[in-house]
């Protein structure tokens, strides 16, 4: 599909918001990176906190949730959709594209893969993520499309999300677990490591200690924020008006907990979090 044409057909306006969704709070790392790059953009974020985590669920269920999440965001007439969830990016990006009827859609997975290929010199690339993301094999497939000579070594790290959420950021137990998870990638002499889950940037400095200086850590939140900027510039959809509004946030459960996490992730206080039933 030609996005330029469809943007015109859809009569997209620069002042419309960017719609972003994730299974829970992890996508706030994407919100933060987009805000840093594009402070004028209006952002609307949905965190599906009632049904989190997606990463341990089946493809059928993840695809159903992805369709519902997209339809929710469409009510707010976004100019594009950012899938801040690696699991959805891996298993259901086509569902989001289909549901959003021609709107530009970007997912963290392709963005992370692009950046990894750009940075890796040895073409030995490590990827870590949830069970669903890693089992889907989506990162190796995406990376091999970009560079057929790249060798990708993947590892599911299901304990990292609960450790990050519990605040065990630099705890000795977290380091032991990280060492156990990452050793099999490090022996493959990777020179770059993609954080294929939006929670993992919270553990970035501890992960860097474990991987050592010779491994570049690729943050897919940063990667997708760069691509959002490029896409909006290319489509002349960057908002030129000064915007001081905080992101609008919708959650499907626990708005108060989300508000606390929002403050922790973004260092901003959030006036209102709206509860929606999914």
């Amino acid at each position: 599909m030609n996005l330029q044409t469809s943007a015109e057909t859809l009569n997209l306006k620069a002042e419309r918001p960017i719609g972003i969704f994730d299974s829970g709070i992890g996508g706030l790392t994407v919100v933060r990176k987009i805000r840093e790059r594009l402070p004028n953009e209006r952002l609307i974020y949905f965190g599906d906190t009632a049904r989190v985590p997606y990463g341990t669920k089946s493809q059928v269920t993840v695809r159903r949730y992805a369709a519902e999440d997209t339809r929710l965001l469409l009510k707010y007439q976004p100019k594009m959709i950012v899938v801040a969830c690696n699991t959805v990016s891996a298993l259901a990006l086509d569902v989001v594209e289909h549901e959003s009827g021609g709107l530009p859609v970007l997912g963290v997975l392709k963005a992370g893969a692009n950046l990894a290929v750009k940075y890796s010199q040895t073409k030995h690339i490590g990827v870590i993520g949830t069970i669903a993301t890693i089992s889907s094999n989506a990162y190796p497939l995406e990376i091999s499309k970009l560079d057929c000579e790249a060798e990708v070594y993947s590892k599911a790290c299901p304990l990292f999300v609960p450790l990050a959420e519990e605040g065990f950021i630099s705890h000795q137990a977290t380091k032991l677990i990280a060492t156990e998870y990452l050793t099999e990638l490090l022996v493959k002499k990777i020179d770059s490591l993609v954080l294929g889950c939006t929670h993992y940037p919270i553990l970035k400095s501890m992960l860097a200690e474990v991987t050592g200086k010779n491994v570049v850590i690729i943050d897919s939140a940063e990667a997708v924020a760069m691509e959002v900027e490029n896409l909006l510039r290319e489509k002349s959809l960057l908002n030129r008006e000064i915007n001081q509004a905080l992101p609008k946030v919708l959650v499907s459960d626990l708005p108060q907990k989300f508000k606390t996490m929002f403050e922790l992730f973004l260092g901003l206080s959030l006036p209102d979090v709206e509860l929606v039933e999914m």
Copy 2:
């Protein structure tokens, strides 16, 4: 409500199954304990694997799920309902009782509280569980109804479920995390520790190493199985016919994963797991 009367009114039959539900796989520890005590009973188990975990969700959401789970089990005409989920036992046992219209209902929480009061000599009782169970304050309330002099010390241990599911049963990291969680209970000189989450029995021997010999570990799965036996005997509802059937198992997602877990938890192979949409 007089259960004897309602059992007659409802025309309950001994050969009907016992309905058991949990948010996911943890309740299999309850299935195992009931089977050990009551091998003749037909069991029907529902694990809400699409919406697991409940322990991090709000009371409103947990109550809605509890009602839906109960209505699902009622389709199989059980003679009683066992709530194998501590979070539902803490936040929504009345919902289950209401939905099941007079059927006997037992939850793991009251059973665990009863057993703790029975075993504790010093009346200093520790309770560990999910964030939702511990924040609900349901264990201290239940224990104080049974013994107003008991002192209850509670601690949420949200990392134990993912550690158990990841198979980090006797890993050094798990022991470090357990030590961190339990120290504040141990300094209160508890002499009994209630495992207020059905996953925790999997970590029991590691927890016993951390607590030392002077603390009795109370397994609420064992406790509720004892109460099921007592209740059925009292109501003359014990099944006297030899039953060789395996439990019937329903799940809302990932039937294959559940089958593997079932084999791991119960040492039995399970021919069929039925998928239901919730």
